[in-house]
C-alpha cells in the first residue's frame, strides 16, 4: 500500500515535471492563459495577468507598487516571483526565448548590453516623463537612442568617514592619507579589494580621477566600445595602484575582502573607506557615526565613481506588453510609487522630485551628491568581457605580483582580444 502510494506519487511527479519542463517552442499553459479574461467584466480597470520577477529585498517594495496599481486595476492579477538577484540575469536570458519568462523583471542597468544582443528586452517609451528622472538614470537605460527599461533607483560608492576620527574629507588623495594618518589608527584608509579577485568597481572613482574611463564616452555621456584605459592616463593610474599597494605604502591590500574592509572600518581602525549605501547599516550596527562625502581626486580630475541604476525591464516575448507598459509608464513612473519603493527598500530614488524629498537624510544627501559626480556604469555588450581582466590586473598590481606596466599592458591586450 505504501509502496503503491509512493510509486503513484512518483509517476504523477514525473508527469507534472515533464509538463513543466518541456515545451521549448511554446509557453506552458500557466503563463499564457490570461487569467479569467472572458469572465471578468472590466470594472474600472484593465484585466489580465502580469508576472514580475523580484529579489527578496525588493519584493515588499514592488508589492507596494502593485497594491497602488491594483487599486485602479483590480482585474489585473500581478504575480511576483521571488528569485535570487544573482540568478535573474541568466534566467531571464534563458527563459524569455522559450516564452516561460516573466513580463517584467527587476534588474541592474548594466545587464542591458547582453539583453540587447540576445534580443530579450523590449523598448519602453516613457514619453515626456523622461525629464522627471535624473539624467544619469535615463542615460543608463538607453542604448543606441532607445530606452529599454524604467529606472527607479541609483546606487554608487562614496567616501564614508568615521566622524569620531576625522572631521572632514579633503579634496585630494594625498591630503586624505595625511589626514587619515593623523588619526593614529591602524590604517589611514581601507577599501574593499574583494581579496585577490580584485574589485575595479570600488576603485573606479580613483581611476577616473586620472582621466582613464573604462570606455571612451561620447559628448552626450553614452559609451563607445573603444577602451579608454590605455595610454599615459591608464598607466598613471596603474602606477598609482602599485605605489599604494602592498609592496609600496600599503594603503591598498588584497587581504581586504568586503567583510574584512567593513570590519576594520566598523572597528574604528580607519577613519576613511570607500563603500556603498548597502554597507551603512553594518557601520551603524557597530555603533559608529558616519558621514558620506565625495571621493577625493588622486589624479587631478574629478573622481567619478560608477553609478549603478536599478530598474524594470520589459520582456520582448511578453504576451501582455500593453498591460505591462501601462503598469510601468502610468503607475510605477509616478512620484507616489517611486516614494513607496524607496520607503520599502531605501535606495536613492531616480526620480528627481522624490530624491529631493528624501534628501533630508544626510547619508542619502551624501550619496546623491556623489552620484552627481558619477558616470553610469557602461551597459554596452562589451562591458561583460571587461570585469574579469580588469579586476585581475588591479589585484596583481596591488599585491605586487606583477609590475604596473606589465599587468596593465597585458590587460589591455587581453581586452583587445576579447572585444575584438
Amino acid at each position: 500500500m505504501r509502496k503503491t502510494l509512493i510509486r503513484t506519487a512518483a509517476v504523477a511527479a514525473a508527469l507534472t515535471f515533464l509538463a513543466a519542463c518541456s515545451g521549448n517552442e511554446t509557453p506552458a499553459a500557466e503563463t499564457t492563459s490570461p487569467a479569467a479574461t472572458e469572465t471578468t467584466e472590466p470594472a474600472g480597470g484593465a484585466t489580465g495577468a502580469l508576472t514580475i520577477w523580484v529579489d527578496e529585498n525588493r519584493k515588499p517594495a514592488v508589492q507596494a507598487a502593485v497594491d497602488i496599481y491594483n487599486k485602479t486595476n483590480p482585474g489585473v492579477t500581478v504575480e511576483l516571483v521571488q528569485k535570487n538577484f544573482e540568478d535573474i540575469r541568466a534566467d531571464f536570458l534563458a527563459q524569455v526565448p522559450t516564452g516561460e519568462g516573466p513580463d517584467i523583471t527587476i534588474g541592474a542597468h548594466d545587464w542591458l548590453g547582453s539583453f540587447i544582443v540576445n534580443g530579450v528586452a523590449e523598448p519602453v517609451d516613457l514619453g515626456d516623463k523622461v525629464s522627471e528622472f535624473e539624467s544619469v538614470a535615463t542615460q543608463a537605460f538607453t542604448y543606441d537612442g532607445q530606452m529599454y527599461g524604467l529606472p527607479y533607483a541609483l546606487e554608487t560608492v562614496a567616501i564614508v568617514r568615521n566622524t569620531a576620527l576625522a572631521d572632514s574629507t579633503p579634496a585630494t588623495w594625498d591630503e586624505l592619507i595625511a589626514k587619515g594618518t593623523e588619526a593614529k589608527t591602524k590604517y589611514p584608509f581601507v577599501i574593499n579589494t574583494n581579496g585577490t579577485t580584485g574589485d575595479a568597481y570600488t576603485y573606479y572613482g580613483l581611476q577616473t580621477s586620472f582621466g582613464a574611463p573604462v570606455f571612451v564616452q561620447n559628448a552626450d555621456g553614452s559609451y563607445t566600445n573603444e577602451i579608454g584605459m590605455g595610454g599615459d592616463a591608464g598607466l598613471a593610474f596603474a602606477t598609482f595602484l602599485g605605489e599604494n599597494g602592498m609592496k609600496g605604502s600599503g594603503h591598498f591590500s588584497t587581504d581586504w575582502t568586503y567583510d574584512v574592509a567593513n570590519q576594520e572600518f566598523a572597528d574604528g581602525n580607519a577613519p576613511y573607506t570607500i563603500a556603498g549605501p548597502w554597507a551603512i547599516q553594518t557601520f551603524k550596527d557597530a555603533g559608529i557615526d558616519v558621514a558620506v562625502d565625495p571621493i577625493p581626486s588622486a589624479g587631478g580630475e574629478t573622481a567619478a565613481p560608477f553609478v549603478g541604476v536599478q530598474g524594470f525591464y520589459l520582456s520582448a516575448q511578453s504576451e501582455n506588453k500593453l498591460v505591462a507598459n501601462d503598469f510601468l509608464v502610468n503607475y510605477v513612473a509616478t512620484a507616489d510609487v517611486i516614494k513607496a519603493l524607496y520607503d520599502a527598500d531605501p535606495r536613492l530614488p531616480a526620480m528627481t522630485v522624490v530624491a529631493d524629498q528624501v534628501a533630508s537624510d544626510p547619508i542619502v544627501a551624501g550619496y546623491l551628491a556623489a552620484s552627481k559626480n558619477g558616470a553610469p556604469m557602461p551597459s554596452i555588450p562589451e562591458m561583460g568581457d571587461v570585469w574579469e581582466h580588469w579586476n585581475a590586473a588591479e589585484s596583481s598590481i596591488i599585491s605586487g605580483a606583477a609590475t604596473p606596466e606589465a599587468a596593465w599592458t597585458k590587460m589591455l591586450t587581453d581586452l583587445e582580444a576579447a572585444i575584438g
Binding site: 509517476v11 514525473a14 532607445q146 585577490t196 500593453l322
Partner: protein, 544 residues
Amino acid sequence: MTTEQSLTAAVVGDEPPPTRRSRQSHARAWDGLGFGFLAKLALMALVNALGVAAGWSAYVNGAWVLLGVMVGLLVVADWVYFSRRPVPLKYLFPGLAFLAAFQLFTIGYTGYVALTNYGTGHNVTQAQAVDALLSQNEKKVPDSPTYPLTIVEQDGELGFAIVQDGAAAVGTADQPLAAAPDATVADGVVTAVPGWQVVPKNQVLSDPALADEVLALRVPISDTAEDGSIRTGDATIGSVYRSVLVYDEAADTLTDAETGVVYRATDDGQFVAEDGTALPVGWRVFVGFENFTKAFTDDTYAGPLLKIALWTFVFAFASVVVSFFFGLVLALVYNDPRVRGRRVLRTLFILPYAFPAFLSALLWRGMLNANPDYGIVNQLFFFGARIEWLDDPTLAKVSVILVNLWLSYPYWFLVCTGALQSLPGDVQEAARIDGAGRWRTFQSITMPLLLVSTAPLLIASFAFNFNNFTLIYMLTGGGPRFTDTSATLGHTDILISMVYQISGVAGGRADYGLASALSIIIFVIIGVISALMFRRTRQLEEVN
C-alpha cells in the same frame, strides 16, 4: 553507498517464499474489504487526471513532442498497472519514468545544445531575432513630441486619435494623420470623434488580440513614409518613430533604409553585410561538432584545457588516496579495543563530515588568508608569517587537497570502521595460528578483504571529486589566475568549474554550446574510467 547496499540486499537478501498462485493480489480485484483495490483505483485516477491535464495543456500550446510523451507515458502506466502480466514493470515503471525525465532528457538536451552555437548573441530563434532587430531599430524621431493618444475604431479598422498643439488629428495604418476639427477634446485627450467609435483603454488592455493589433499599428504622420509614423506602447501616449531596418522575408535579408546596406542571413546565425559587419542579435543554429574541436584548437582554451584536465586528474586521485589512507589509519587505530573512550573520539572524528561542505570551504578560505591578522592558520601555526596559501599556484593546489582531506577523511573513517568490524574473525585467527605477523595479516588478509567492500566506493569518490565544483568554487574560485593566457581561468580550476566559467552563468560572455560539449567530454572521461576500474575491482572480489 545506500543504493549499493540496498541493491545487494535486494539481490542477496531474503528470497520471498513461493507465493500461493491461487491468491491474487488484493489490488487486482474487489476482495474482502476492498481497500487495496479502491486505493489503486483512486491513485490511478489521480495519475490519469494529472496526465490528461498536462497533455491537454501541451495540446493547447501546440507542444506536440510533449503531448506525444505524455500520452505515451499515460498509456504505458495504465497498461502496466491494470494488466496482469508486467509484474516487474509494476516496480520499475516509476523509476524508468524518472530516469527518462531527469537523466535521459538532460543528457539528450546537453547533447543537442553541444551541437549548436547557443550562447551570448545566439540566444533566440531566427524569428525572435528578426523581431528584436526590427524593434531595436525602430527609432524615435529625434525631438518627437509625446502625443496624448486615444484608440478609435471605424468599420472594424483601428486608428489613433492624437492631440497636437491642442488640435485633434485622426489616422489609420492606410490613412495618414489628418486634422479632425470636429473632435471633442477634454483634458488634452480626444474623447469623441464623429464617425469613429472611441475604444476605451481598459478594453484594449483587457483583450490580448486587440492589444496586439494596437501594438502593431503604425499611423503615418504624412504621405511621405520617411517622415515616420506614430506608435504607442501603452495605449495612452504616442510618439513618432522611423524604421531603420526593413525585413524581406522571401530573400531573408534586412535592409538599412537609411544607408541601403543589405544584411543577409548566414549559416552562422547572424545577419551579415557585404563588408562583414554583422547585426548584434543572432540566433541559434546547428554547428555540428565545431564546439568539440573548438575546445582543443582555440588558442584561448586549448592550453588551459590541457593543464586543467591534468590537474583535475591529480586532484581527484590525490583527494581519494590521501583521505582514504588517513581514514583507514584512524579506523585501524580506533578499532583497537585498547583505546579508551573510543565512542567519544569516533564521534568527534565525524564532526567535519557533519558540516555542509560549502560552509567548511568558506571557513577555510577565511582561515587561510595570507595576512596573519585575518588568517588564523598563519597566525597560530606559522608564527604570523605571511604564507600565501591560496594565492601561490603550487600552495593553492596543496591547500585544496588538504582541505578536501579534512572534509572527506571522516567518510573513509566511517566506512573503514564499519568494514573492519564486519571482517570475519576466523580468517584473521587462522592467519595468526599460521604464524603471520601483524603487518603480514594486514597486508594479506585485512587489506584485500577491506578493498572488496570499499573499492566501489573509491571509484564513486573519484567520480565525485572529479566534479567537486563546490570545493573549488568556494575555496579558491579557481584562482590564482593563469598569467599566460587571456582565458579567465586559474591554476586550481577543474574541468567542471571551467565549464561553469565558460557557460557564462556567473556573468561575462556565455557559450552554452562549448560548455555543453565540455560536459559531454567530462561525462565520457568519467564513464570510461569508472568502467575500467569496476572491471579491475571484479578481480579483487575473487579473493572471496
